[in-house]
């Protein structure tokens, strides 16, 4: 059975319809890429799965382990095993990395925090007492965000544009992390418009203009995406399908 199933999801934000009936299915222990050009509705779908305020669907369903998530708040979904790593992680004045990691840690022990930081190539001795604020670079902040998800031990990690704002070395660690998560029964949904990031996925769903275009093995979707979507033929809004 799929861990995550999205069925014909429809959603409008601020009166504008973004999702016109997206469907996707993500198997357990898969790294699944949700791919599409800018404005395709990828992040909107990610936020809807996480249950963020303002992203409640008006049609369709989101199922985790066969159970509907519709109507559940963000924290309720997190406790069921869903978590989200933002494209631009939040910064917290006065909050130490240690306390940030502890906020969601499944086991409140220091060793788990240290291990998570090491897995993101961050020295715990240097980072645990640092603040999660503007003193961290964007790349450091992103790795700490992922470390905070590691200590949660979720079932499903949604990583929104994980490659944005980080250097090549950090990206390599991130891909290693996704491999390791897969081996630890964690499912990863990569939200991306990068063909390079897609190369690290097992399966993929291509969305465009709020609709599912294609779903299947990542390599197959990647070829389609590279051939058909780059550059995006709907970049000109007048070329887009009817959004009503």
């Amino acid at each position: 059975m799929a861990l995550l199933e999205v069925r014909d999801l429809r959603l409008a934000v601020g009166g504008k319809r973004i999702l016109h009936g997206v469907s996707l299915s993500v198997e357990q222990r898969a790294v699944h890429a949700l791919v599409g050009p800018n404005g395709a509705g990828k992040s909107t779908l990610a936020y809807a799965i996480m249950g963020l305020p303002g992203y409640a669907p008006d049609g369709g369903d989101i199922l985790l382990d066969g159970k509907s998530l519709n109507g559940l708040a963000v924290d309720q979904r997190a406790r069921l095993g869903v978590s989200l790593a933002w494209q631009e992680p939040a910064r917290f004045e006065g909050l130490k990395v240690r306390d940030f990691l502890l906020a969601g840690a499944a086991h409140k022990d220091e060793d788990a925090l240290r291990d998570a930081l090491r897995r993101m190539a961050l020295d715990p001795g240097l980072y645990l007492d640092r603040m999660v604020d503007t003193s961290l670079s964007g790349g450091e902040r992103k790795r700490i965000e992922l470390a905070s998800i590691l200590v949660m031990k979720p079932k499903l990690v949604i990583a929104d544009e994980p490659d944005s704002g980080i250097d090549v070395e950090a990206l390599r660690h991130m891909f290693e992390l996704f491999d390791r998560l897969r081996s630890e029964d964690v499912t990863v949904l990569l939200v991306t418009h990068s063909a390079d990031v897609m190369a690290h996925a097992d399966t993929a769903t291509l969305v465009c203009c709020g609709r599912t275009v294609e779903e299947g093995p990542a390599e197959q979707i990647r070829s389609y995406f590279v051939d058909q979507c780059l550059p995006c033929p709907f970049h000109d809004p007048s070329m887009r399908p009817d959004e009503s």
Partner: protein
């Protein structure tokens, strides 16, 4: 040893502080209960001259020229009964090239109708350094009126850093008014961190005049108000000399029916002076809230953690 003294130390221990500092001969301390000095210890280079008045206590403090007080000086001010008035006239002089760090606890744990007034005149001589951290601990009823006023003159090359914290217990009503003047190369850094609940009222007025060339001023406020609490922060920074630079930074989190206001005033009177300011008032940042909730925290837990962070002790670098 008086019972009041022992009770003050009990309160101090209750705050998780090490009360043994009050019995160490190489650690200076001063304990004032109500308007009475009930404990004091001095170290070489530090002179303290208390004088009990009819309606208060006057305390003269002198750090002698060139003296560097090695250990933090501990002060404990408080009123233990439910009612009372404490009025402290503080006259602090740091002579040239002297330095001292002071940790003051102001405790009013049982207050129902207590007034604490502090009028301080502080003068720092050339190249002196004074760090003063004041932590207030109030009871759960908020029956305290706290009125600390200070005028600070920071001499050439001297540095004055003060941090005021009131995050434990109810504020009651507080009216802070600090004003400082900086000579050339002087540094003034003033930080206020407070948390108001119920019908607490917080009024902060901090003014720094960067009169000397290359002087530096930082005014930083972090306030959280909940329920029906009210906060008004006025920060004024004037820069009138070449190379003077400063920053005003006020953040306030508002929850429930609370009200917060911020007035940053930046007054620059020299083309080579530079002052910046930022003020942010509002509810908890939604991205921060959602991030913590996406880790499984409830909304209330997440809000509490964000506020704790905002009100946490500020590192020196952060305030720069």
């Amino acid at each position: 040893m008086s019972t009041d003294y022992e009770m003050m130390l009990d309160v101090y221990r209750g705050l998780g502080q090490d009360s043994s500092v009050f019995s160490e001969s190489d650690v200076a301390h001063l304990v004032i209960h109500g308007n009475e000095v009930i404990g004091a210890n001095l170290v070489p280079g530090l002179r303290v001259e208390p004088e009990e008045l009819e309606d208060g206590v006057r305390v003269g403090i002198v750090v002698e020229e060139g003296a560097a007080i090695e250990n933090t000086v501990h002060m404990c001010f408080g009123v233990l009964p439910e009612e009372g008035l404490q009025r402290i006239l503080l006259d602090v002089e740091l002579e040239p090239r002297s330095r001292v760090e002071v940790l003051a606890h102001c405790v009013f744990p049982n207050a129902l109708d207590v007034t604490h007034k502090m009028d301080a005149q502080i003068r720092l001589g050339e190249d002196a350094a004074y760090r003063y951290f004041e932590r207030h601990v109030h009871g759960s009823e908020g029956g305290v009126l706290v009125v600390p006023h200070a005028q600070v003159h920071v001499g050439a090359g001297a540095s004055f850093e003060t941090e005021f914290e009131l995050v434990q217990g109810r504020v009651g009503q507080i009216e802070i008014d600090y004003e400082g003047w900086c000579a050339e190369r002087a540094l003034m850094r003033m930080i206020a961190r407070m948390s108001g609940r119920g019908d607490d009222r917080i009024q902060v007025r901090e003014t720094a005049h960067l009169d000397g060339p290359d002087s530096v001023g930082v005014l930083l406020s972090r306030i959280a108000v909940r329920d029906r609490a009210w906060a008004d922060v006025y920060n004024e920074l004037t820069a009138s000399a070449p190379g003077a630079r400063g920053h005003v930074d006020c953040k306030e989190i508002v929850q429930g029916e609370a009200v917060a206001r911020a007035t940053p005033i930046v007054d620059v009177r020299h083309p080579r002076a530079h002052v910046t300011h930022e003020a942010a008032i509002g509810s908890v940042d939604s991205r921060q809230l959602q991030t913590l909730m996406a880790r499984g925290m409830s909304e209330d837990e997440a809000v509490e953690l964000i506020i704790q962070g905002l009100l946490s002790k500020k590192e020196k670098a952060e305030a720069d």
